[in-house]
């Protein structure tokens, strides 16, 4: 099971990295969320996937003993929420960029690069 999950995480991370390197912004956004998913799988595995007692403490006991580790699930949940929020922001930025410049190829998005470009000819007064 662990090996299977590890392979799945590795596969997802590989696909994610490949897509992040794409010049198309939407592919890059999808790649980032794939990479996030791969990391979430890794986090899940950090708690050792196995059959164990639920993380409930017996009356009078102070330690969890032989039970499941609840922390990775909390971590994964937090990471999913944060990843979702950031993906939404990134998608909104991409939409805005498309509306502004009419393209989503990162090499054709030139607005930031053109601002104060030292190689550009001397401009009029900019603000």
């Amino acid at each position: 099971m662990s090996v299977l999950l590890a392979l799945a995480a590795a596969g997802l991370a590989g696909c994610g990295l490949y897509m992040i390197l794409s010049r198309h912004v939407v592919r890059m956004v999808l790649g980032l969320s794939l990479l996030g998913t791969a990391v979430n799988l890794m986090l899940f595995q950090a708690g050792r996937v196995r059959t164990a007692q639920p993380p409930l403490i017996r009356e009078g006991a102070v330690r969890l003993g032989e039970s499941a580790d609840p922390v990775p699930q909390a971590l994964v949940l937090t990471a999913i929420v944060i990843g979702f929020a950031l993906t939404v922001i990134l998608a909104a930025l991409a939409l805005r960029a498309f509306r502004g410049e009419g393209t989503l190829r990162s090499d054709e998005l030139r607005a930031a690069r053109a601002l104060g470009d030292p190689l550009a000819p001397e401009p009029g007064r900019d603000r």
């Binding site: 050792r48 922390v71 929020a85 990162s106 607005a111 601002l115 007064r125």
Partner: protein
């Protein structure tokens, strides 16, 4: 009773106050004057809170706050020691200057777009990163920093800002994912996320693949966020597009928070530079990265004609000195890096704010068109000159002491490459001086290219904000001793490792 409650939560007020005020400011959307009042009031309270915290821990020791009374292995703790309190106080000063500047620069439209809640949220996130004792919590604060920074960056919704924010977000998310992966791996090895406990659990362990991979992933993620070669290209691609007050806040706070996290993670958690280092090979790599960052960014800065772009490259050039101090793997190096962090937070912010004032007076950021501002604005020219000389390391300003301490620490360390590193630092210092004096001469001194238009007025708030930062750098230059003392305490605590670790109260 109120006094008791105030004292009990002394470690969390610097986060709670701006966060609550951010929510309040968000509710007041559409009423810019009230929003500004909330923001400035919250800022004053935050400054008071961090100053109180610094007073408590400046001489050593720590304040620990466990949420809900749950101690370290189960709950999340906030730990304030000399390092966190010193940097949080500096962050408060930076935020104060930006808020003063914003009185003139951030008009009602930008306030309606959410400047105040986002700025307060960013301050809360930065303070949270400084104060948290939990590694995963640190990651969460970094994500909050990123989200608020993206909001601030795109305040005007110009195409260039959206484009810059897109590049910034993509790189930063990749870095954060690396960090998260590293944190997950460390948790898998050690079974805890509290930095003190992690440090105790990792110390003395033989180097393993998992810990090494986790360390280098964390290093990659944090180096990206700190703007270190070769992962710094997002910074000059985005900072120059931001509204200038926002750029000042980003330059003063974010990369430095990332460097603080580097110190915590590499030195406290992984024991780099102590006898119980859990991972091999970090100091030489850091030294190489520091030297490369310095030289590449200062050379790139010299080629710039836009004031904002020029300063953005210097942000990275200065971060490199911090990394250099860390790479020495000695207590003196870490202390020098902390002094340098305080200095560079103040000076970078001052320079960006000064750039905003220059643009206001000369109607633009293009150095080819600017000129002659000293005629109408002699006081502002002097203030900007103080900041420009400070970043270049000219005595008696704070930059001189910071650079002197870092280079001195380099020569005192046992690193075989110390001579090369110091040489790179000094060459970069000279090139920085060249770059800054060109900037100053072009903007202020040389005759104006286009006669006819006199320089425009600079609002008083802008001059006051720049003056505050200039006063800080002059003041620190005259009396650097207290900061050095606190930094030595902070470095000793960082290096103390597991003996002093354990976040539990």
């Amino acid at each position: 009773m109120i006094g008791e409650a105030l004292r009990a939560g002394v470690a969390v007020w610097p986060v709670v106050v701006p966060l609550a005020a951010a929510a309040l400011a968000l509710l007041l959307r559409g009423r810019p004057a009230l929003q500004r009042g909330v923001m400035e009031g919250a800022l004053a309270l935050t400054l008071a809170a961090v100053a109180a915290l610094l007073g408590r821990v400046a001489g050593g020791g720590r304040v620990v706050m466990a949420f809900g009374g749950w101690g370290a292995p189960v709950g999340i703790t906030f730990v304030a020691d000399a390092l966190s309190a010193l940097l949080a106080t500096t962050a408060g000063m930076v935020a104060l200057a930006v808020a003063i500047f914003a009185r003139a620069d951030v008009r009602a439209r930008r306030r309606r777009a959410g400047f105040d809640p986002l700025f307060l949220g960013m301050l809360a996130a930065v303070n949270g990163a400084f104060l948290t004792g939990d590694l995963f919590n640190l990651y969460v604060w970094f994500e909050l920093m990123l989200v608020t920074a993206l909001g601030l960056l795109t305040l005007d919704r110009r195409p260039a800002q959206v484009d810059g924010a897109l590049r910034y977000a993509a790189m930063s998310m990749t870095g954060a994912t690396c960090m998260l992966l590293g944190i997950g791996l460390l948790y898998g090895v050690a079974g805890t996320l509290d930095m003190g406990d992690l440090s105790a659990a990792l110390a003395g362990r033989p180097p393993s693949v998992a810990v090494t991979a986790a360390s280098y992933l964390l290093l990659a993620g944090l180096a990206l966020k700190a703007g270190v070669f070769p992962l710094f290209f997002w910074l000059p691609a985005s900072y120059h597009t931001a509204p200038i007050g926002v750029a000042a806040a980003l330059a003063g706070l974010l990369t430095k928070a990332a460097f603080y996290a580097c110190l915590r993670v590499l030195v406290t958690v992984l024991g780099v530079g102590t006898a119980a280092a859990a991972v091999p090979g970090v100091p030489p790599l850091l030294a190489l990265l520091a030297a490369a960052t310095m030289l590449v960014s200062v050379l790139a800065a010299i080629a710039q004609v836009d004031v904002r772009r020029l300063l953005a490259f210097h942000v990275m050039g200065q971060v490199a000195y911090l990394v250099m101090g860390l790479s020495l793997a000695t207590a003196a190096g870490a202390a020098a890096a902390v002094v340098y962090t305080v200095h560079t937070m103040l000076v970078q912010t001052g320079l960006f704010l000064g750039a905003g004032a220059i643009a206001r007076a000369g109607r633009g950021y293009d150095l080819r068109l600017l000129g002659g501002l000293i005629r109408e604005h002699p006081v502002f020219a002097a203030l900007f000159a103080a900041l420009a000389l400070s970043i270049s390391g000219i005595p008696p300003l704070s930059g001189f002491w910071a650079k002197a301490l870092v280079v001195d620490a380099a020569f005192r360390s046992a690193a075989p490459w110390r001579g090369w590193l110091a040489a790179a630092a000094l060459v970069t210092g000279f090139l920085t001086l060249y770059s800054m004096s060109t900037l100053w001469t072009r903007a202020f001194q040389r005759p104006r290219r286009r006669e006819g238009g006199a320089a425009h007025r600079i609002p008083t708030a802008m001059v006051v904000a720049v003056g505050l930062m200039a006063a800080c750098t002059v003041g620190l230059g005259v009396a650097i001793e207290p900061v050095v003392r606190i930094s030595r305490v902070a470095a000793a605590e960082l290096m103390a490792g597991p003996a002093q670790g354990g976040g539990a109260p």
